[in-house]
Every structure is written in structure tokens, then in C-alpha cells.
Amino acid sequence: MWNYSDKLKEHFFNPKNAGVLEEANAVGEVGSISCGDALRLMLKVEPETQVIQDARFQTFGCGSAIASSSALTEMIIGKTVDEALQVTNKDIADYLEGLPPEKMHCSVMGAEALRAAIANYRGEEWVDDHEEGELICKCFGVDAAMIERAVEVNALTTLEQVTNYTKAGASCKTCHEKIEDLLESLLAKQGKTLEPVAAKAPAPAMVGLADIAPLAAPASPEAAKPVPAKKLSNVQRMQIVIATLEEMRPYLKQDGGDVELVDIDGKNIYVRLSGACSGCQMASVTIEGIQTKLVEKLGELVRVIPHTMMAAE
């Protein structure tokens, strides 16, 4: 069933400014019938003031496509052309009190139609930046070519990084397998292998967590979130990492283990577990505990990687 807001439903069931605008002097047409949605946006711009006096739309598409079109016209009427260009697809989605993730592309179509119409008004040619590659992430419209570029330019090696750089896979996650497959094949070309997914913060219910209580997840999930906006220098970061590990060592020693910092490489923090910790079945939980603590202290997302998992030099 559709998870649509009341505002969206209102704009679908009673769309504003639908139909043909006879006196339009700016027309933008985007989409295609093969993709399942298409939009013609018609604007009447007052040449003196550059104010959009009227806007109408015709849309072939689903409920959220029609609602996005309706919302767009309401948002831009009365604005100057330059002001209208500030409207992003996110603004359209926000105006509708949100769109389901897999429908975000409907708002993108609205924003594109607006740009196409204004380009038409100014006598410019509007070129869309849609790529030709296979569509991987449907929620954010990210295709294989875009992921490929991001991976190559930024030397990405994990699914998580691909998501951070391209937004692909950030929403419904159904494309994660596809991204991993693509990443694997791209990395294979460079002679690398796909790194395992970074450990998530431990769930409170995890078996045996009580045994290492000091390392366990904080009581509230909010506390696990990184403290935002505190740009640390590399030295400061290193000092925090060392101090945090020092703080944790007594607890590990209680259980006959120990931890040692091996290296810090950007977001990756390599540690060596020794003693009872190294071969212990709880090693991954310990690593997660250390990670949780470091994320908390550093205020950024980092990965803690056991030394044994480092690539052979």
C-alpha cells in the first residue's frame, strides 16, 4: 500500500494548475512514456519583472508524479525565474510532506521540468544528465556508470563508501547485492577484493554482551550517534584513539586479553587483539565495542579492523 502523506494525496486527488496554459512562453518537457512518467510544464513569465505569473502542468505518471507536478506549480507561481531555479527536488518532496524513497524520482522529474522550461524561456538548450548505464539504485536514480566513476575516482572499496559517495543503496537497500556485485567486478579489474561490510554498532540484545559490559552499546541508541561538527586534526584524532584504547584495556585485561593500535588510515583504524581476545569467539563483539566507543569519542564514523584482516603487504 502507498505510504503517502495527506498533503500528497490532496495534490493528487485535487491537483492544482492542471491542464494546458495557452499563453505560455516557457515550456519544459521531460520524462518518457517508456519510463512510465512524463511531464510538460508550461510557464507564463512576465518579461519585465521575470516573475512567473502562471504555471500549468500535464503529467503522465503515478500519484506522486501528479502530486509533485501540482506542488511544483504552486511553489513557483509568483517567484522570479531566478528564485524558481533555487527550488530543488528535495523542496518539492518537503512541500508534499515527504515522498516514499522509491518515489523520490518523481520530485526529480519536477525539478528537471522546471529547469527545462526556464532554459526554454531563455533560449538555451537544456541537456539532461541521465546516464546510459544500468539503473542500480532506483530510489535515487543512480546508474552503474555513476557508481563506476565514483569508485574509480575516489578509490572506493566498500559498499558503505559507495553509498556515502553516490547515495546509491541508502534508502530501501534492495540494490545492495547489485552494488556489491558491481564493486566486486570493478575491484577485480584493479586486482583488489571487496572488503567485508563494516561492523554495525552492537545490538543491545546480542548474546554475551554482558560479559564485556563496559564495551557494550550505550543505553540509548542516540548516544551511539557521532557528535557532529568537530573538525579534529590528525594528531588530535590519533590522541583520542590512543586514549580511548588505553581506557578500554583494563576491561579487556580482566578477561585475559589486550588491544593494541596498529595503524590509522583515514576512517580505518587497525588494531591487534591479543591474549584471550584474539582467538575468542567474542572477538567480533569486542571489535564492535571498540568501534562504538571510538565513534562516540571521535564524533565521526570510523571502522575498527582487526589486524589479521589487513591486506597482505
Binding site: S32, I33, A38, C62, A65
Partner: protein
């Protein structure tokens, strides 16, 4: 009360089915594998249910029925079993219009396991290309999996003929009959079909229960290994209440088969005829001469299916669509595309699937409401003018 015309998606559990199931939650809750009386009471009823499934399918032996969690599990079990049983045969024959339960599995087997998949195309009415089918068959084929009837259009495939052709090259023949069971008479005892999948919730039984028919003598390799349940063919403690429900649903389906074939079909025909007469630029997809009695799939040109469903839903009518926006995949229905239905119509394809619960009054309401909905959306569409379709709309990246 709403008008439910999405019975190919799922059906209402028949109250008689629920009544049959109830004692198996709280009263007869034993594990059928147990030696004591609690177990025996359940075990006996499961065997009764097996017999009911057997009768509905016209199977020769009740031991040919293996209970599963539903259509998808049955499909996966059948294909993987055939591949394991005949490891030297590395090819599979299927059709382009199968359910994702088959298509996704085949895609996986092709890309990850190196199997060769023959996907047989269909014509504009959804009929299988028999020449291409014959050409694909060889001694390399482990299993053929072709659906009995298509879920979107209702078009029926000649499974008996296809099974006999598969026999000639020694390939096993499996059919996904999820949409056909309970709607079409079956006589598997006198059939060349080796395996058949069915799903409970498509025939007024609960969700999460299904069965796989495996003909006696067909080599079988279980997908789930563990306990000895289902004669070692499907490990895991039996979902006893659901199995009992499926048994009852099969009994009811056998009794009401005639209703499906006459009353339901007549209502469906009336709906289709009225819509096509009242609405310009729309047509029935699939093969009108050979399809399920309950399924009407009407393609409305130049509008999009999800919008149609939203407006139908406002009127209390539940249907479904092959449009991209309802599938979560952004691709219009693979069935519509395989039949060569133009994009202008594929996105507006709307499926009305009836059941024995559907009434004439309900159909009359739908006939009254739908033309207005179509007109309302076409007024919004850039592809449509009052004179009909417009050819002038050429958006960027089309």
C-alpha cells in the same frame, strides 16, 4: 464494504477454512512426529489434507504431495532438485513471462552458477512460441519450468503438450500452477507433468502454505534437509493448522470449480465487454480464447496504472497494475513487455481478478466507476487531447 478484485494477488481465507483450522492451534497442538496422542491427532488430519490436495490435482497417490511454505518454495525446490538429480545436464528451459519466483532463480543460476537458461518468448497474445520451445529442448536440459497460467493475463499454456515434448529429451517438467489450481480441472495421474507448484493463499487458504507435487518415481533432492518430515523431502515441523486449512480449501475448490468456470467467467466477460465499449483507446491483453476464467487485464492507453489504482481505491475498488510505479522496480510489467504491448498501454494495464465471492452488483459498480477515472486521468496526461492521443509530445530523454 470494498470491492475486492485482486484475487490473483491473494484471496480471502474462506470462513469454513478458518473453522477447520482453529482446533489445531489450541486443542490439537501436538507435534505430528510425537508418539503420544497429541501427535497422532494432528498427524491423521495432515494426511487427510494431503488427500484433499491429491484429489484437487487428480494425482494418483497422496504421497506425491509435499507441503511447503508456498509457491516460491515449491518452485525453488523443484528446480534445484532437478539440477541436483541430473548434475550433468546444465540447461533450464523456461518462459519470459514466468513469475519472479522462477525468473529470479534462473537469473541467479545463470549468472552465479553457470547454467544456461532458455527463456522462450511469447506472441502478442501471450502464447508460447512452440518452435523456439522445441528448438531449446535437448539432452542438456535438466528441467523445464513453464507456468500453467499467467498471473497477469490469465493466458493458459499447453502444459500437457509441453511436458510430453520435454519427456522426449529426458528432461523433467515442472509447472508453476499457482494461478491455475482451483480454477482449472486437473488430472495429474494421467499427465506427463513431473512436478507442480501450488500456493494456498491463491485459493482461499492462508498465506505461508503451499505444496509441491512430485510424481512417483521422479528423482528428488530436498532443498531443506533436517528431520524426516514429508518423507524426508521437506524437513521442518509441519505447519499443521495451515496444512489443514489448505486441505479444506482444496475440498471447497473442488466443489466450486463449476462456479469458477461458469459464473465467475460470465462476470469477467461482462466487465471486460462493458469497459472496452465505454472507454476509447483500451484493449484486453492476453489470449481471450484461452485463459483463466477469473482474470481480466485491460490496458488503458496514455495513463499510468498506479494513478488508476489510487482513484479506484478511493471508490473502494481493489485491483492491480503492471505499471512500473506499483512494482517497486520502475520497470513496467515484464509480461506486458514480452507480449510487445506498447509502453503507452503497458503502464496503464490494469488487472481485475475475480473470485467465487465476486457479485454481479460489484461488477456493475466497477463498470459504472471506471470510465470516469480513466477520463479524469487522461485530462491530466500530456499524451492525450480531447480528440484522442497526441503525437506531438516529445520530451527530453524519451
Amino acid at each position: 464494504m470494498g470491492i475486492y478484485l485482486d484475487n490473483n494477488a491473494t484471496t480471502r481465507v474462506d470462513p469454513a477454512v478458518v473453522a477447520e483450522m482453529m482446533p489445531f492451534f489450541t486443542e490439537h497442538f501436538g507435534n505430528p512426529s510425537s508418539m503420544h496422542g497429541y501427535g497422532a491427532a494432528v498427524g491423521g488430519k495432515i494426511e487427510w489434507a494431503r488427500g484433499e490436495v491429491q484429489k484437487l490435482l487428480g494425482a494418483a497417490f497422496d504421497t506425491e504431495i509435499v507441503f511447503t511454505s508456498g509457491g516460491t518454495e515449491s518452485d525453488s525446490t523443484a528446480i534445484l532438485s532437478a539440477l541436483k538429480a541430473y548434475p550433468k545436464r546444465r540447461e533450464i528451459v523456461t518462459s519470459v513471462v514466468e513469475h519472479p519466483a522462477i525468473l529470479s532463480l534462473c537469473d541467479f543460476l545463470e549468472s552465479k552458477e553457470g547454467y544456461r537458461i532458455h527463456r522462450i518468448p511469447v506472441d502478442g497474445k501471450g502464447n508460447l512460441d512452440l518452435e523456439k520451445y522445441e528448438a531449446a529442448l535437448s539432452e542438456n536440459v535438466a528441467v523445464v519450468s513453464i507456468m500453467w497460467a499467467n498471473n497477469e493475463t490469465g493466458t493458459i499454456f499447453p502444459v500437457e503438450l509441453l511436458a510430453n515434448m520435454a519427456k522426449k529429451v529426458g528432461a523433467l517438467f515442472h509447472t508453476d500452477a499457482v494461478q491455475a489450481v482451483g480454477k482449472l480441472p486437473m488430472d495429474l495421474a494421467n499427465s506427463a507433468i513431473d512436478m507442480l507448484s501450488l500456493s494456498g493463499h491463491k485459493l482461499h487458504a492462508p498465506k505461508g502454505i503451499g505444496a509441491l507435487y512430485v510424481k512417483r518415481g521422479v528423482r528428488f533432492r530436498p532443498m531443506l534437509r533436517g528431520g524426516h518430515q514429508e518423507r524426508g523431502r521437506r524437513a521442518g515441523t509441519e505447519n499443521a493448522p495451515a496444512i489443514v486449512g489448505l486441505g479444506k480449501a482444496c475440498e471447497l475448490a473442488r466443489e466450486s470449480m463449476a462456479i469458477e468456470l461458469t459464473q465467475v467467467a460470465a462476470l469477467r466477460d461482462r466487465l471486460e465487454k462493458a469497459l472496452v465499449e465505454a472507454i476509447p483507446n483500451c484493449f484486453v491483453t492476453g489470449n481471450p480464447a484461452n485463459r483463466l476464467p477469473n482474470t481480466a487485464n485491460v490496458a488503458f492507453e496514455f495513463i499510468e496504472g498506479e494513478a488508476i489504482l489510487l482513484l479506484l481505491n478511493e471508490e473502494g475498488i481493489a485491483a492491480s497494475s503492471g505499471s512500473a510505479c506499483t512494482s517497486g522496480s520502475l520497470e513496467p510489467s515484464h509480461v506486458m513487455r514480452a507480449m510487445g504491448v506498447p509502453y503507452t498501454a503497458a503502464h496503464g494495464a490494469t488487472r481485475f481478478s475475480l473470485s467465487r465471492d465476486t457479485t454481479a452488483e460489484e461488477i456493475d459498480t466497477v463498470i459504472r466507476v471506471v470510465p470516469g477515472i480513466i477520463e479524469r486521468l487522461r485530462k491530466l496526461s500530456p499524451y492525450w487531447t480531447n480528440q484522442g492521443a497526441t503525437a506531438g509530445f516529445q520530451p527530453v530523454y524519451s
